[in-house]
């Protein structure tokens, strides 16, 4: 009686009020779907500390217990290879969650089990979700979960995350195991006798090794990792790779097997995985040609593959921008409406700084960024569908040959393509790139893909300076120049700043799967929200700064009074209503021009004029270029103000007329060239800063591209002037 009581007490003590469950598994094993099924809307997305890899976690109550679910990035191995894998590995090794939920793809048992064995070695209690059980059944695979349980010594729960099958049992089991770690009796992973003997001596020597500071790491696991010369394990334990006891322990193995120890261990682990698969899995006699293979026969076909891919990309692209157009209009209207409501709070005609800050600075600036949200959400939706269905891996497969030529990975293609729409989602799409060098290179060159906001500039300039037959070719030339410069720059970056071997391509082509609406929407929203939150805060700041630069200092009282007098004079004059409003508009334009010239931006424009002269620009273009940093299309509006034509857009004939009379076609071309290459807009810089994890790269992007733009425009302008082209 007392005994029982005691043990209950112990149990009670062992039960923790809050539990941390880490979800780990191979990529494409259905981890996200499983987590969505468990946590649903409670999922919150952030970043892992110090890196920009998405960290998803969810807190929820389960039967009075507080459960934290941590989604670890998809991982093939605990000898990490990608940044994501390092994160997963570090979390498992150092944070020691109460339990690991290992999601295993039942249709791809052997390779998934290879990772399971590595998890078991870590000694954290493990519960396995044998996921996509339905798909396995359809393929005629029969898996004996009980047999797996008895061999592995851990719970194996068949689940179908997409249909919510087995989820409750999975959580129950996970909690039960976390409460009673004693129940967890994983099989020891037996390596061959030679390796085991070596492990034994390493374990013994490790204890006496003076520098060893790895007491928090599981001993056997550490010994194995040290024998493999795992870089992270060496670093953490303080044991040098050439420590005599390690060399001694592994030299013999190498001699006996003629293979390095890493290969031996991988062989052993795969041997175990294959053995367990043989025991627990019954395959049909004849493998059916799977749906995936039938789709790939078309989609990756030698002749059809490329056109199909291009057509699909075109579809995604045009849908994004056509479907995004109406909501963009609504948002524009909404901000316009709220701007006028707000402006209405002040008496008509009054000049209030606060009003100007709120209406022109904040609502104008932030509105100008939020207006892209429909496009961005739609693009993310398309990307989520492409990713979840498995097509994204095929994109990399199809495009790798081209991308590899400029030192990048096939996956870099997608962000660069999105860049033609908007650089902001494009840079966010680089998250799919595993290698940091690739990712940074892609981020830095993506703004060279001429984005949608630059189009109004070309549409203003081209008809102003070039005859109609040249309109389309000119536009095409500008886009092609952007692509060519991007290719050269990428190649250059990969051979200098981001030098290093190009990353191996070695990549799984996962089976096609029907994306679930819930999963796709969650995916889309997570990223859309990050865009709003991250870009929003910084852009708010820069908007205010840009507003201040074009507003301060205000015109001196003398001038303000002069314009006020002129306005009154018009009002008092006995002219017709139409004539009056025309005169008023002309006064407003003049006042606007004067104010801009007097402002910081205008003064900077004038101050940098000597620098701009060699590329053919005057201070007016300079000032407009400063405004264009807020958003590229602002260039057009700024030119409108400077040339006193009031609210200008790319259709503005009066502005075109004035431009034509002031500048040569060569300068027109130089404006386009400069706008194409130079400093991307502030939203792009902000996103690059956030996504790269360092403002250093954002500044490099800003400075590097602007310098490049200057040099190239200089060459074009000077050569053109010398040869007498377009003047």
């Amino acid at each position: 009686m007392t005994n029982k009581h005691n043990s209950e007490n112990q149990n009670n003590r062992a039960i923790k009020k809050s539990l941390t469950i880490a979800v780990a598994g191979n990529p494409n094993a259905g981890k996200s779907t499983l987590i969505n099924a468990i946590a649903g809307t409670k999922l919150h997305v952030g970043n892992w500390p110090g890196v920009t890899v998405e960290k998803k976690s969810a807190d929820f109550e389960y039967k009075g217990r507080r459960i934290t679910l941590v989604d670890l990035p998809g991982t093939y191995s605990l000898s990490p290879y990608t940044q994501e894998e390092v994160i997963a590995r570090d979390y498992l090794v150092h944070e020691k969650p109460d339990i690991v939920l290992n999601v295993v793809d039942a249709t791809n048992l052997e390779r998934n089990l290879y990772f399971t064995f590595q998890l078991l070695e870590l000694g954290i209690p493990l519960v396995m979700a044998l996921n996509m059980h339905d798909e396995a059944r359809q393929k005629g695979l029969r898996i004996d979960a009980e047999k797996m349980e008895s061999i592995l010594g851990c719970a194996v729960i068949p689940t179908v995350a997409t249909k919510h099958e087995g989820i409750d049992r999975l959580i129950e089991t996970a909690i039960a195991f976390a409460d009673d770690p004693g129940r967890h009796a994983p099989c020891a992973i037996p390596y061959g006798a030679d390796i085991e003997a070596a492990v034994k001596t390493v374990l013994g020597d490790l204890q006496e090794y003076p520098q060893n500071n790895s007491n928090s790491l599981p001993k056997r696991w550490l010994a194995l990792k040290l024998m493999e010369r795992d870089e992270l394990a060496l670093k953490e334990s303080g044991v040098p790779a050439d420590a005599p006891f390690l060399t001694k322990a592994t030299r013999h193995l190498r001699q006996a097997h003629g293979e390095d120890i890493e290969a031996l261990m991988a062989d052993e682990r795969y041997g175990l995985a294959a053995g367990l698969t043989r025991e627990a899995l019954q395959k049909p006699e004849k493998r059916k040609r799977e749906l995936t293979e039938r789709i790939d026969a078309v989609v990756l076909n030698r002749f059809l593959g490329m056109p199909l891919f291009l057509a699909l990309m075109y579809l995604v692209f045009s849908l994004t921008f056509t479907l995004g157009d109406p909501p963009m209009g609504w948002i524009e209207n909404f901000f316009g409406w709220s701007g006028s409501i707000l402006a209405g709070l002040w008496p008509e005609g009054s000049e209030s700084l606060l009003k100007s800050l709120l209406v022109d600075g904040i609502i104008g600036g932030v509105g100008g960024v939020i207006v892209f949200l429909p496009n961005i959400l739609l693009l993310f939706l398309a990307i989520a569908i492409l990713e979840d269905s498995g097509y994204m891996a095929r994109v990399a497969f199809i495009m790798d040959r081209l991308m590899h030529k400029i030192g990048l990975h096939g996956k870099s293609f997608i962000p660069m393509l999105i860049g033609f729409g908007c650089s902001v989602p494009a840079i966010m799409a680089t998250r799919t790139l595993e290698n940091r060098r690739d990712r940074l290179t892609t981020m830095l060159v993506t703004p060279l893909m001429s984005c949608g906001a630059r189009l109004p500039i070309y549409l203003l300039i081209i008809p102003a300076f070039f005859p109609p037959v040249w309109h389309a070719p000119m536009l095409w030339i500008i886009y092609v120049i952007g692509i060519l410069i991007a290719v050269v720059t990428a190649k250059l970056l990969r051979s200098t700043l981001f030098k290093g071997e190009s990353v191996p391509f070695v990549m799984e082509l996962p089976p096609y799967r029907m994306p679930t609406p819930k999963g796709v929407l969650i995916h889309m929203w997570e990223r859309g929200w990050l865009y709003l939150k991250k870009a929003g805060t910084i852009i708010l700041g820069i908007s205010i700064l840009m507003w201040a630069m074009t507003t301060f200092p205000g015109l001196p009282d003398r001038d303000t009074a002069r314009f006020a007098n002129e306005r009154q004079a018009i009002q008092a004059a006995a002219a017709g209503k139409e004539e009056k409003s025309e005169q008023m508009a002309s006064i407003e334009n003049q006042a606007g021009e004067e104010a801009l010239r007097y402002s910081i931006a205008g003064r900077i424009g004038q101050a940098i004029e000597p620098i701009l002269t060699p590329v053919g620009f005057d201070w007016k273009i300079g000032t407009a270029l400063i405004g264009a940093f807020a958003a590229k299309e602002v260039f057009v509006a700024q030119m409108g103000i400077i040339y006193s034509v009031g609210k200008a857009n790319e259709e503005s004939e009066t502005l075109r007329e004035k431009l034509k009379n002031t500048y040569t076609p060569l300068i027109g071309f130089c404006i386009m060239l400069f706008c194409l290459i130079s400093a991307p807009c502030m939203a792009t810089i902000a996103v690059t800063g956030r996504e790269s994890g360092s403002w250093k790269w954002a500044m490099l992007q800003l400075g590097g591209l602007t310098l490049l733009a200057y040099v190239l425009t200089f060459i074009v302008f000077q050569t053109g002037t010398l040869l007498g082209v377009g003047i």
Partner: protein, 75 residues
């Protein structure tokens, strides 16, 4: 003979990986270990990379990478 020498439809048995470092580790983690059967399924439309079937899943890799994998042809 290496994996890069196999044509689509041909299969082989992996003998050895003749490269060290990250690439080797990655290949092994993905199941490219000696004794495993592998068959070449497809070549990308532009001629590289290739798709192989190994351990009942599809893996893609560049020809340059496949050159490091020694195989013996099977039927």
């Amino acid at each position: 003979m290496t994996l890069a020498d196999l044509r689509p439809g041909q299969s082989g048995k992996i003998l050895k990986i003749n490269v060290a470092g990250a690439l080797k580790r990655r290949l092994m983690d993905m199941g490219v270990v000696s004794g495993t059967n592998v068959s070449v399924e497809k070549v990308a439309p532009l001629g590289d990379p290739i798709e192989v079937r190994i351990k009942s899943y599809s893996l893609s890799l560049r020809r340059g990478e496949a050159k490091n994998i020694e195989v013996e042809a099977t039927l």
